[in-house]
């Protein structure tokens, strides 16, 4: 990783920490890791995004970003094991909606997934990486951390600005 990349990541992390200092908790949703439950997740995000002030288009962008993140967890991290759960927390400040996706699967930091070469992806039978790329493209910043207070958790944070 270059020092420039590191500085950018440090700046984003600092910005997220500053945002976290003054957040309103809006809503929380917990569901089992079943693909059938993605529809409920989408509705939950859309409802709270529009309530926060996003127009339908911006809300749909956030819905898709969260959907890609959760689909990745269900299909790849949990390999469609439907007995585990994902918790989604929505918080806000005046200008940002913050979505925390919390789960117990093995650690995986999507920030370090290399963006796919779309020319190769398009022309060859490449798989994988497109969902994370779309997720990253539809939000303003992403953070990821793990915590272990007796129970291991991944927390993926997606931030979308109201602008």
């Amino acid at each position: 990783m270059t020092s420039q990349t590191l500085n950018k990541k440090q700046l984003i992390n600092t910005q997220i920490k500053l945002m976290n200092a003054n957040l309103n908790h809006i809503a929380k949703f917990k569901t089992f890791t079943k693909t059938e439950n993605l529809e409920s997740i989408r509705k939950f995000i859309f409802k709270n995004s529009t309530k926060f002030g996003f127009n339908e288009y911006k809300a749909e962008e956030l819905v898709l970003a969260v959907d890609e993140a959760c689909t990745n967890l269900i299909k790849h991290a949990y390999k469609s094991d439907s007995q585990s759960s994902i918790t989604i927390e929505i918080k806000s400040n005046k200008t940002n909606l913050i979505v925390n996706i919390i789960d117990n699967s093995p650690a995986f930091d999507p920030r370090y997934v290399k963006d796919p070469n779309m020319i190769e992806y398009r022309d060859e039978y490449r798989k994988g990486g497109l969902g994370i790329f779309i997720m990253k493209s539809l939000v303003d910043s992403i953070d990821y951390k793990t915590i272990n207070n007796g129970e291991f958790k991944n927390i993926l944070t997606l931030v979308k600005q109201l602008k």
Partner: protein, 114 residues
């Protein structure tokens, strides 16, 4: 997945009737496309007029059709692509590979002139 497939002088018109093209239906979507994307067709018209949103697996389906037909220089024509779907295609840098038309009639006329 709800859809219709119509053949018109070797032009295949696939009309998807769902409002989302996502992981719930993408496996069925890809399976149908693999059947219809044959090297003897003149063009594939994908009518996405009802599709309001798409995810990476849905895009993967459209790319599958593109890859199957591109090597035979057969075009994929997308009809009625809504704003959100267009945005995701542009983000993924694949929009430029397709011909976009507003109606099936316009797409059919385009394909007949090839």
């Amino acid at each position: 997945m709800k859809y219709t497939i119509e053949h018109n002088d070797n032009i295949v018109i696939f009309t998807l009737k769902n409002d989302t093209l996502n992981s719930r239906i993408s496996a069925d979507f890809k399976a149908e496309l693999l059947i219809i994307c044959q090297p003897d067709i003149k063009a594939l018209i994908l009518d996405l007029s009802t599709v309001e949103s798409i995810d990476s697996s849905g895009l993967g389906g459209i790319l599958l059709a593109y890859r199957q037909l591109h090597e035979h220089e057969i075009p994929v024509i997308l009809v009625g692509v809504q704003e959100m779907v267009r945005t995701i295609m542009n983000i993924s840098q694949i929009g430029s590979q397709f011909i976009f038309c507003d109606t099936i009639e316009e797409a059919t006329n385009y394909a007949k002139e090839l």
